[in-house]
C-alpha cells in the first residue's frame, strides 16, 4: 500500500480518482487546494502526488515548486491543458511526469508504478562514475560536483545514472523514456525537460553543455 495525494479542485474528479485509485490498491487522500495539499504533504508525506494545474489560489505550477522545495516526491501532473507551453512549464517547475485528462485509471496506475520502481532505488549497482569534477555514486544515491552534493530529484538521478551507465554512447529519447520512465511510448518532451533541468545543476554553462550533450536527431550522451 502506498499513499497517493490527489490535489484537484474539481470535487467530482477528485472523488472519482480517489475511488478508482483505491480500486487499484493505493491509499489515496484528496486535497481541493494547493495550500491544503502542501499542508497534508508536510504533515504526512505521500509516496506520490497527483496535481492539477488550474487550482484556485496557488496554482499548480507554484504548488509543484513548493512541493519540490520540500522533497523529491514523484509528482505527476494531471491536467486538461495540453499546450506544449504548459507541459514544459510544469516539468520545468519540477514535475516528473505529465498526463492529459482524461487519462485511463489503468494508465495512471501504470505510470505511478513505474515511478515507484524508479524511486525505490532500483538503479542497477554501478561503480562510482566521475566525469571531470562531476561524481555520481549510484549506491549512495548522490551526485557531487567539485566535492559538493548536488540536489537532484529521483527521476533526474535515474536519468543521470542511465546516461552514466552508457557514458560515451548515445541514448535516444525513446530509449531513455523506456529505461527511466518505463514507457513503451511517450512524450519525448519529458526527456528534454529533465535533461534541461539536469544541466542547470551539473553544467557550468547550461546553454553550452560540456558533460551532457545533445546529438541532434539522435539523442543524448554523457561524456566520459
Amino acid at each position: 500500500m502506498t499513499g497517493v495525494l490527489v490535489i484537484e479542485d474539481d470535487d467530482r474528479i477528485r472523488l472519482a480518482l480517489l475511488l478508482a485509485l483505491e480500486d487499484e490498491g493505493y491509499t489515496v487522500r484528496g486535497a481541493a487546494t494547493a495550500e491544503e495539499g502542501l499542508r497534508m504533504q508536510r504533515r504526512d508525506p505521500a509516496d506520490n502526488v497527483l496535481v492539477d494545474l488550474m487550482l484556485p489560489g496557488l496554482d499548480g505550477f507554484e504548488c509543484i515548486r513548493q512541493l519540490r522545495r520540500d522533497d523529491d516526491v514523484p509528482i505527476v501532473v494531471v491536467s486538461a491543458r495540453d499546450d506544449t507551453h504548459d507541459i514544459v512549464a510544469a516539468l520545468e517547475a519540477g514535475a516528473d511526469d505529465y498526463v492529459v485528462k482524461p487519462v485511463a485509471v489503468k494508465e495512471l496506475s501504470a505510470r505511478l508504478r513505474a515511478l515507484r520502481r524508479r524511486t525505490r532505488g532500483a538503479a542497477p549497482p554501478v561503480p562510482v562514475f566521475t566525469c571531470g569534477e562531476l561524481e555520481i555514486s549510484p549506491d549512495a544515491g548522490e551526485v557531487r560536483r567539485a566535492g559538493r552534493t548536488v540536489p537532484v530529484t529521483r527521476t533526474e538521478f535515474r536519468l543521470l545514472c542511465e546516461l552514466a551507465e552508457h557514458a560515451g554512447r548515445v541514448l535516444s529519447r525513446q530509449q531513455l523514456l523506456q529505461r527511466v520512465w518505463g514507457y513503451d511510448t511517450g512524450d519525448e518532451r519529458l526527456v528534454d525537460v529533465h535533461v534541461g533541468r539536469l544541466r542547470q545543476k551539473i553544467e557550468d554553462d547550461p546553454g553550452n553543455p560540456r558533460h551532457l550533450v545533445t546529438l541532434r536527431g539522435l539523442g543524448y550522451k554523457l561524456h566520459r
Binding site: 472519482a16 495540453d82 485528462k101 487519462v103 485511463a104 485509471v105 489503468k106 536527431g217
Partner: protein, 451 residues
C-alpha cells in the same frame, strides 16, 4: 501586360504633364518668335525690294538700257538676287535663269496686273522670300531674298526648345518619384506592419501620427489589428476552454467507469451490459474530443525534426498487437525523415486503425521515398473504396459504406480527415486507390522529408 506600380504611374503622370506643359509653351514661343522674325524679315525684304525697284526703274529710263548691267549695279549684298521680267524675257545678273522657274505663274499675273506681291518659295531647296514689284505695264521686278539664316536660327531655337521640354519632362518624372516616395512612405509602413502581423507578431502597430490625412489610416489600421488579435486570442481561449471543459468531466467519467468495470461481476447482467455500454461510449467520446481538438489546431505548421520512421511504424503495429513484420522499409530510406513526429505518428496510427476497422486489418505498411518525398502506404484486404467515395472519405465525419452496413463503427469519423490535415501540414497529400489483388491502398506523400 503587367500593370505599372502606383509610384511608376504617378511619376509617369508627372512626366507626361510636365512634357505637355513644356511642349505647348515651347510651341507657342517658337511660333511667336518665328512669326515676328519672319514679319520683320519680310518688311526688310519689302523695303529693300522697293528701293532696288526704284533704282532699276531709273536705270531703265535711259536710252538702250543694259538691263543686266543695271541689275548688277544694285547693292544687294549676298542675300538678295534681282530678276527682271520684260515681255516674255527674263533678266538676271548672271545667266542663271533657273531662278525664273521659282516664280509662280499666279504671282507673275498678280504683279503684271500692277499689284506688288510677297510669297515664300523654295529655290533649289532653299527657303526664299520672293517680292514682286510692277515697274511698268510689261515690266516686273522680282527680288529673291534667301531665308537660310533665318531658317537656321529657327532650327537652333526649335532644338533648344525641344531640349528644354525634355529636360522639364525629366524633372517632372524625378519630382513625381521624389514626391511619391514621401507620400507613399505611410503605405510602406502599413505594408511592413501587415507583413509582421501575417508572420504572427500581433504587437506590430503603426506609429501614431499628427498628420490629419494619415491619422485616419493609422488609427483604422491599428483598430483593425486590435480587433483581429482580440478575435484570434478569443478563439484560442475558446478552443482551450472547450477542451478543458470537455476533458474535465470525461476524467470523472473515465475514473468512475473504471470503478464500475472493476465490479462487473457483482452487477446483475442488465446493469453490467449498461455499464459496459457507458464505458465503451466514454472511450469513443474521449477519442472524438481528442480528434476535434487536434482538428481545431489545423492552422499550426508542421514542427519538423529527424524521426526514425521505421521504428515508429513498428511501434505503431506493436501497440495494436499486430506483427511488426507488416512494416516494409525501402532500402534507400535513409536513417530518419524530417517530419513532425506527433503528426507522423497520428498518420500511421489512423491509417492502421482505419485498415483494422474497415479493411479487415492492414496487410502491409510500406515506407519508401521518391526523391525528397517520403511515402507511406498502408494496404488492406477489405472491400476497397468505391471510386466515387475516394475524395469524400477524407472529409470530416464521413465513414466508409462498410461501416454504415455494420452500424457499430467505433471510429470518430475524423481519423482520415486528420491524416489529410497532417499530410497538408507537411505540404503533402493523401490518396486512396486499389491494392493489386484486392483491398484498398492508402498513400501519403510527405514532401521535404528527405534531403
Amino acid at each position: 501586360m503587367r500593370r505599372l506600380g502606383l509610384r511608376a504611374r504617378v511619376s509617369a503622370g508627372f512626366a507626361v504633364g510636365a512634357l505637355l506643359l513644356a511642349a505647348s509653351m515651347a510651341l507657342v514661343s517658337y511660333e511667336l518668335t518665328r512669326r515676328s522674325l519672319l514679319d520683320e524679315r519680310e518688311r526688310t525684304a519689302l523695303r529693300a525690294a522697293y528701293f532696288d525697284a526704284a533704282v532699276v526703274r531709273s536705270g531703265l529710263d535711259t536710252e538702250q538700257p543694259d538691263i543686266v548691267e543695271v541689275l548688277r549695279s544694285l547693292d544687294t549684298g549676298g542675300n538678295r538676287r534681282p530678276l527682271l521680267h520684260r515681255g516674255d524675257d527674263w533678266y538676271g545678273r548672271t545667266a542663271d535663269t533657273g531662278l525664273t522657274a521659282a516664280v509662280p505663274q499666279e504671282l507673275q499675273q498678280l504683279v503684271r496686273a500692277g499689284a506688288p506681291a510677297v510669297q515664300r518659295v523654295q529655290v533649289n531647296g532653299q527657303p526664299t522670300l520672293l517680292v514682286g514689284v510692277p515697274l511698268a505695264p510689261s515690266i516686273s521686278y522680282y527680288e529673291l531674298t534667301s531665308l537660310r539664316e533665318l531658317d537656321h536660327t529657327l532650327q537652333v531655337l526649335a532644338l533648344a526648345l525641344t531640349a528644354v521640354a525634355i529636360m522639364v519632362a525629366g524633372s517632372g518624372a524625378a519630382l513625381g518619384w521624389y514626391a511619391t516616395r514621401h507620400s507613399l512612405r505611410p503605405l510602406t509602413a502599413v505594408a511592413d506592419a501587415a507583413q509582421k502581423i501575417a508572420a504572427g507578431n500581433f504587437t506590430a502597430r503603426l506609429a501614431s501620427t499628427t498628420d490629419p490625412d494619415l491619422a485616419r489610416l493609422s488609427t483604422s489600421f491599428n483598430d483593425m489589428v486590435d480587433q483581429l488579435s482580440r478575435r484570434i486570442e478569443r478563439d484560442r481561449r475558446f478552443a482551450a476552454d472547450v477542451s478543458h471543459e470537455l476533458r474535465s468531466p470525461l476524467q470523472t467519467l473515465a475514473a468512475a467507469t473504471s470503478v464500475l468495470a472493476n465490479r462487473r461481476d457483482r452487477l446483475d447482467e442488465r446493469t453490467a451490459t449498461a455499464a459496459g455500454l457507458v464505458a465503451d461510449e466514454i472511450t469513443r467520446f474521449q477519442r472524438l474530443v481528442n480528434d476535434l481538438i487536434e482538428l481545431a489546431r489545423s492552422d499550426q505548421a508542421a514542427d519538423r525534426a529527424p524521426v526514425d520512421v521505421v521504428v515508429l511504424a513498428r511501434r505503431t503495429c506493436q501497440a495494436r498487437r499486430l506483427p511488426d513484420t507488416l512494416v516494409q522499409a525501402a532500402e534507400d530510406l535513409g536513417p530518419s525523415w524530417l517530419v513532425d513526429e506527433r503528426r507522423f505518428a497520428q498518420i500511421l496510427a489512423n491509417l492502421v486503425d482505419n485498415a483494422e476497422r474497415y479493411g479487415g486489418g492492414p496487410v502491409a505498411v510500406r515506407l519508401s521515398r521518391q526523391g525528397g518525398t517520403g511515402i507511406v502506404e498502408v494496404d488492406d484486404e477489405g472491400p476497397g473504396v468505391p471510386v466515387g467515395d475516394r475524395e469524400a472519405i477524407f472529409d470530416r465525419f464521413v465513414r466508409g459504406r462498410a461501416a454504415h452496413s455494420r452500424a457499430a463503427g467505433d471510429g470518430t469519423g475524423l481519423g482520415l480527415a486528420l491524416v489529410a490535415q497532417h499530410a497538408a501540414a507537411h505540404g503533402g497529400r493523401v490518396t486512396v486507390g486499389d491494392r493489386p489483388g484486392g483491398g484498398a491502398r492508402f498513400r501519403v506523400e510527405l514532401p521535404g522529408a528527405l534531403p
